[in-house]
């Protein structure tokens, strides 16, 4: 923070110097070293009030025409998922096409897929905050919302794959609490670590999101017209007045939450990968899994952020706040994490050969050339090849192209989890325990329905909450800086 404000005041000084030299005698003094010109984060020098109106306007004005059809379709998908879950609970987990030897298939694939998507939100909100990447302010709110909704979708699958859910949710099985059987959960199992990791992740993400929302809810409260809006925004903004005594504690708390979320997000997908890596199944039992899963999670999450934000920005005319530069920077993250993922795929194969275990080598040969070859090569096409288009600035700034690639990333990352889970399980050590998993219609429609849940929550979020962090975007404009001429600093005229 200190360095940021120092450089800002240096640029203000440079500004003063250049103005001061107007009409001065011909004596030419060497120019003061000038800070490299940075592209502004909000285009066209929009005033602070414009930012409030543009962002708060989205959730105050009536929703555009497409909102209701989109909501009805999403809501229908959500209801379909709930009905299929009711069918599963009343009939048995067999309706999901799970059978020996593949007892995990689409359920855990979907779980890892959704939880991975969440990681981009935390990365943008926490890691980029600690790294002082100010561009994050335009996208962090929507990305955090995405995280929370993705974790909600993720939670559905592991909970209901237990079949008799009441046992999973009763005290003593997943969550420790005294119970009539006097048994406790088994803390040596990575599956229990997962319960703690995912529930902590969901809770902390929600807290972090809410803390960020408080000042913006106060903005909405102060602009609210109807009684209900006044009441609810007033209630949830907790009486925020923008007091600097409050900001002081608030900023410290925000920094600490960012500092806590960073090791959290790294640990969550590491622990998810332990579900596999701690077992002794060939194809799963590898030490590369934690970093490889974390990189993959960030890759998939940024894919989903782009899939959501590119349409959002044009549908709500937020071009000056979510700029092409933001999209380009996110494409660079895709390129970096996609390369790590590609490297991990290669390294897995190398170790399978170099490690000298015939079972491990077989598992990997079977992945690429066995009965599930099509899923392996879909994964490679989407995850290893597609991000490398982003070496080219022309392609990074072509939003239609970026959007299409982001869809490929989503598909590829779903296939990655499918490949890891199903190809490792479907052929056990003895050929008598070989099988071929095929999803049932319930599998497919439950997954489709989870997108309905996700989109329903996201559309409600657009409808009622500020999609962009208003106060944070204001904070990175030059008008916010008391030492910048646009912030009203004297001496430049």
């Amino acid at each position: 923070m200190a360095s940021a404000s120092a450089s800002a005041s240096a640029s203000a000084a440079a500004h003063k110097a250049s103005h001061g030299s107007h009409g001065a005698p011909a004596l030419k003094v060497a120019d003061a070293p000038r800070e490299l010109e940075r592209e502004p984060l909000v285009l066209n020098e929009r005033p602070l009030g414009w930012i409030t109106n543009a962002i708060a306007g989205v959730c105050e004005n009536p929703m555009p025409k497409w909102w209701w059809p989109a909501f009805v379709v999403s809501f229908g998908g959500m209801l379909m998922m709930f009905s299929l879950i009711a069918y599963l609970v009343s009939t048995g987990v067999g309706v999901w096409g799970l059978n020996q030897p593949a007892d995990w298939a689409w359920d855990i694939t979907n779980f890892v897929f959704w939880i991975g998507i969440g990681h981009a939100g935390t990365l943008i909100s926490a890691v980029l905050f600690l790294l002082r990447q100010k561009w994050r302010t335009s996208v962090n709110r929507a990305a955090e919302a995405m995280t929370i909704f993705a974790v909600a979708c993720a939670g559905v699958f592991p909970v209901f794959h237990t079949g008799r859910v009441w046992f999973a949710l009763l005290p003593g099985y997943l969550f420790p609490a005294p119970n009539a059987n006097e048994i406790w959960p088994q803390f040596r199992s990575p599956l229990l670590w997962d319960v703690f990791a995912v529930s902590t992740y969901g809770t902390v993400s929600l807290l972090f999101w809410y803390v960020g929302l408080i000042p913006d809810l106060a903005t909405l409260r102060d602009r609210a017209k109807g009684f209900l809006r006044k009441f609810f925004y007033g209630l949830f903004s907790l009486g925020w007045t923008g007091s600097n005594r409050h900001w002081s504690n608030y900023e410290k708390a925000y920094l600490l939450l960012a500092g806590l979320s960073t090791p959290l997000v790294l640990s969550v997908h590491s622990i998810v990968s332990f579900d596999f890596a701690v077992s002794v199944v060939p194809g799963w039992h590898t030490t590369i899994f934690p970093p490889y899963f974390v990189a993959g999670a960030i890759f998939s999450g940024f894919g989903m952020v782009l899939t959501l934000l590119i349409p959002l920005r044009s549908l709500f005319n937020l071009h000056d706040v979510i700029t092409v530069r933001h999209v380009e920077l996110m494409c660079k993250v895709l390129l970096a994490t996609g390369s790590i993922v590609g490297y991990a795929y290669g390294m897995e194969f190398f170790i399978a050969w170099y490690g000298g275990s015939p079972y491990e080598l077989y598992a990997f040969k079977n992945r690429a050339f066995g009965p599930y070859w099509w899923s392996y090569w879909s994964m490679i096409t989407c995850n290893v090849i597609s991000p490398h288009f982003f070496w080219f600035k022309k392609l990074r700034s072509n939003l239609v192209f970026v959007w299409i690639v982001s869809i490929f990333v989503n598909i590829g990352m779903w296939f990655e989890r499918f490949v890891i889970i199903v190809t490792s399980l479907h052929r056990d050590y003895l050929p008598s325990s070989w099988g071929y998993f095929t999803p049932s219609w319930v599998d497919v429609m439950t997954f489709v329905g989870s997108f309905g849940l996700f989109m329903t929550l996201f559309l409600l979020f657009i409808r009622f909450l500020p999609t962009i962090a208003i106060s944070e975007v204001k904070g990175v404009t030059p008008q916010a800086d008391p030492h910048h001429p646009l912030g009203g600093a004297k001496g430049h005229h």
Partner: protein
């Protein structure tokens, strides 16, 4: 403006730019006010020093939360899997901090986050749903694009006329109003 029949709660001074309120805050600090505050739509860098605030102690709440989380996690796992119901699974030890670590780690983060959030609420005395400032129409801009200084009538150095003159003439506020209790 004639004297208000109601007791004044505070004087509210409005400013148009970040630089103006920054300089005014320094003047208020140097004038020795104690019950006063700056209200801005976003945090202004350097305002804590300009107001002369001490460093925020939120970190202590985070620390206590984290320590509680870690020790609660370790103790819980030791109690459940080693002490209360010892059960050998896969020949693994009944307790070792290694297998207890992932869960204790998550609990450290969870309770640190709760400590941070509720510590911040406690220090800021939030939620506070009633505030005399909310009755002022002009103050609604404090969450939009205007900057305000509020000096409370309870401040020992407060005097309606002198403070008003100080805010208008010395601090160059664009408007000064009385906020009624």
């Amino acid at each position: 403006m004639s004297a208000s029949p109601l007791k004044p709660h505070a004087l509210l001074a409005e400013f148009g730019t970040a630089a103006d309120i920054f300089e005014a805050a320094i003047l208020c600090r140097d004038a020795g006010f104690s019950k006063w505050d700056v209200h801005t739509p976003f945090p202004i860098h350097g305002m804590d020093e300009a107001m002369g605030l001490r460093k925020s102690p939120v970190g202590w709440f985070t620390f206590c939360g984290g320590m509680t989380g870690f020790s609660a996690g370790m103790t819980m796992i030791w109690y459940m899997n080693k002490f209360d119901y010892p059960l050998v699974v896969g020949g693994k030890p009944l307790f070792t901090p290694l297998y207890a670590f992932p869960v204790s780690y998550e609990m450290t983060i969870l309770l640190s986050a709760f400590g941070t959030l509720f510590g911040m609420f406690f220090l800021n005395r939030l939620p506070k749903l009633y505030n005399p400032l909310f009755k002022n129409e002009r103050f609604k801009k404090a969450t939009d694009d205007r900057f305000f200084i509020v000096i409370e009538a309870a401040d020992p150095k407060f005097s309606l006329e002198a403070t008003r003159a100080f805010l208008t003439e010395k601090c160059h506020a664009t408007a000064v109003e009385i906020v009624e209790d």
